[in-house]
């Protein structure tokens, strides 16, 4: 299907800033979805609140734009009530890892069949650039004007520990690998989690000496390290940018029973 059969032409152009990585992820998602020959009528999209959570509203399909942090909980109900639908969640670092943390880890643990795309731009972009739980240490934001004193989450590692069947992380600098991982995630039984480190030039980059999106993409490229070439880093494996590195790759691809298999789910009514 054509790009503008997939996306709602009557809602175009989208609201994302010039250079925003959301648009890049939308391309990769469309490419993956289309290559697999999936049907929009048999898919439902769920988003929380935030820039990336708005992506479902641009897709020509059933979409549920929910409350901040709760997309996975809504998606859980939606999926179990209509198990024949493929459910895809679009969320962001704050939506998923801060306010949505509890639903994130329990979603991984429950291993319900769904694909969760987390676009991690290291900031709360929509509200103007406040620090997020993935803002790197010492970086500036509107709520950390003298530098972020806290250390960030590593969302992909949390998903691994919590039990997700498939976990991958890429940056928007690795579009082909990202597309391939999204394809794998869409076909994976159980909870499939793809984290994408993405550029927010206006509200993150601009305050941290990287106002141009290409500067952020360069930073991603320089920092990216394949997870299998494990870094010999300190055991405080918390900082996404520990020793200036972002681990990318497929973190886990396992076959724990999905929640549907565990309960022997039958389509209701």
């Amino acid at each position: 299907m054509e790009l503008f059969d997939f996306y709602r032409k009557d809602r175009w152009p989208h609201v994302f800033c010039p250079g925003c990585g959301n648009g890049t992820v939308m391309n990769c998602f469309y490419r993956a979805f289309n290559d697999l020959g999936l049907s929009l009528d048999r898919t439902a999209f769920v988003g929380g609140i935030g820039c990336s959570s708005r992506i479902p509203l641009y897709i020509n399909s059933d979409a549920l734009h929910t409350t901040h942090g709760r997309a996975i909980a809504f998606a859980t109900g939606l999926k179990l009530a209509s198990p024949e639908l493929k459910v895809v969640v679009f969320t962001g670092d704050g939506d998923l890892g801060a306010i949505g943390g509890n639903h994130f880890i329990n979603g991984c643990r429950r291993n319900l069949d769904m694909t969760v795309i987390c676009i991690n731009n290291n900031i709360y972009g929509m509200t103007g650039g406040q620090a997020s739980i993935t803002t790197p240490h010492d970086f500036l934001s509107t709520t950390t004007p003298s530098g972020n004193k806290e250390y960030p989450f590593d969302l992909a590692e949390i998903a691994v520990a919590a039990g997700a069947n498939y976990v991958a992380r890429w940056t928007t600098r690795q579009v082909h690998e990202l597309t391939k991982s999204i394809k794998t995630a869409l076909q994976k039984k159980g909870f499939a989690f793809v984290e994408i480190v993405s550029q927010c030039p206006i509200n993150f980059g601009r305050r941290n000496k990287m106002p141009d999106p290409t500067q952020l993409l360069d930073w991603f490229k320089e920092s990216s390290v394949r997870r299998d070439k494990a870094r010999a880093a300190a055991v405080d494996h918390v900082d996404l940018n520990l020793a200036g590195q972002i681990t990318v790759g497929e973190f886990v691809d396992r076959n724990r029973e999905s929640y549907e298999e565990l309960i022997g789910a039958v389509k209701h009514g």
């Binding site: 979409a63 409350t67 999926k79 209509s82 509890n102 039958v266 009514g269």
Partner: protein, 376 residues
């Protein structure tokens, strides 16, 4: 799967479970909280292994979110909680109101505020049921006063949630939820299902215009439905900046309920025409029921629907009596509205018997207060 018609002797919470099953519940998400846990446990037993779904979620916010999501997947869905969990659910309740999602929420009220009295009854969440989430919206709420009503009003909660596309509440309490009593399940029970977009209905259980309550576009039917909590236009386009669209939407959300009070409001009157009427609901009405049964001078207006506020029955009863006594198990929540309406309707005096701590007002306490008022 549903219980056979007949006579039973069961707990209030268990009767609620039976009512939900008869109404067609297909998705329940719950979290343990006294005194509502029996509802979750009952539905866990009844739904597991069927084509319905029971889920214990990680917190109450996840519960209410999941039941809203399930409703969009086409399932009649319900959750049950008490005060602390109810407070957590408020944001999502507002979302259900704004997105017009039919869901049923059972709140078995307990002593508050905060952790309060987990095992004792109160009616402290009455105002919160209507005003708990931010913004202007209307809900439908029923207050059962017996095991039978735990069954009947659960069915009604589902019916009205489906009919008006609103969150509907069953406001029970630790007394009514945990008491054991007789339940009659009849052969025929009126069940209302949502008016689904694209589905032709042959029966006329539906008498609401499409302008007030839009047909429900279930997910997975090719409608390309877009649902959001943001202010939206008729075609679900997000329009938060347009004052006119916001006004039209928010007013419609209220009007669809308020204009249909006649259909939604339910109440019972004992000794109509008495010059002194007790007005009460739920467990607080149990003592007054006994007084009214034994003393002709005292009547009782027992509200079964408390939201939308039943202006008309209160005004009508008030216009025919001299004194009203409101009995509530809180420090006076419906009292203000009842007094306003009653005084306007010509009643001379409206007083409050407020009892907190867990026990419903006893018949003697009611008689004592009535005697203080000079009614007996």
């Amino acid at each position: 799967m549903r219980a056979k018609p007949g006579e039973y002797f069961i707990q209030g919470n268990e009767a609620c479970v039976e009512g939900a099953i008869v109404a067609g519940v297909r998705f329940f998400a719950g979290y343990p909280i006294t005194p509502s846990t029996e509802i979750a446990e009952g539905l866990a037993r009844r739904l597991t292994g069927t084509d319905g779904v029971f889920l214990q979620m990680e917190d109450e916010i996840a519960c209410i979110s999941a039941v809203i999501g399930a409703s969009w997947g086409g399932a009649k869905s319900m959750t049950a909680t008490s005060g602390p969990g109810f407070s957590l659910m408020q944001e999502a309740i507002g979302y259900a109101a704004m997105s017009e999602t039919p869901v049923v929420i059972v709140n078995v009220m307990r002593g508050g505020p905060s952790t309060g009295q987990p095992t004792r009854a109160s009616q402290g969440d009455v105002m919160q049921t209507k005003w708990g989430s931010h913004g202007d919206y209307q809900v439908i709420a029923f207050a059962p006063a017996s095991v039978q009503e735990m069954f009947d009003l659960t069915v009604e909660a589902f019916n009205y949630a489906e009919k008006y596309r609103v969150p509907a509440f069953l406001l029970s309490d630790a007394e009514v939820g945990h008491m054991r009593g007789p339940l009659t399940i009849p052969d025929k029970i009126r069940i209302v299902n949502r008016k689904e977009k694209g589905v032709k209905r042959s029966d006329e259980a539906y008498d609401i215009s499409d302008e007030l309550v839009h047909p429900f576009p279930v997910f997975g039917k090719g409608h390309k439905t877009m649902i959001t909590g943001m202010t939206h236009a008729e075609d679900s386009r997000i329009e938060p900046e347009d004052p006119k669209i916001h006004e039209e939407l928010v007013k419609r959300l209220s009007e669809k309920v308020l204009m249909n009070r006649k259909d939604i409001n339910k109440w019972e009157v004992m000794c109509p025409g008495s010059k002194t009427m007790v007005v009460s609901y739920g467990a607080a009405s149990l003592g007054a029921m006994e007084v009214a049964a034994q003393d002709d001078r005292i009547g009782l207006l027992r509200l079964k629907t408390i939201w939308p506020f039943p202006e008309e029955p209160v005004a009508e009863i008030a216009s025919q009596c001299d004194r009203m006594l409101v009995c509530e198990m809180n420090l006076g929540q419906l009292y203000g509205d009842i007094k306003r309406v009653a005084l306007e309707a010509g009643c001379r005096k409206v007083e409050l018997l407020s009892k907190i701590g867990g026990d419903p007002p006893t018949p003697n306490e009611v008689r004592h207060k009535l005697s203080e008022m000079g009614a007996i």
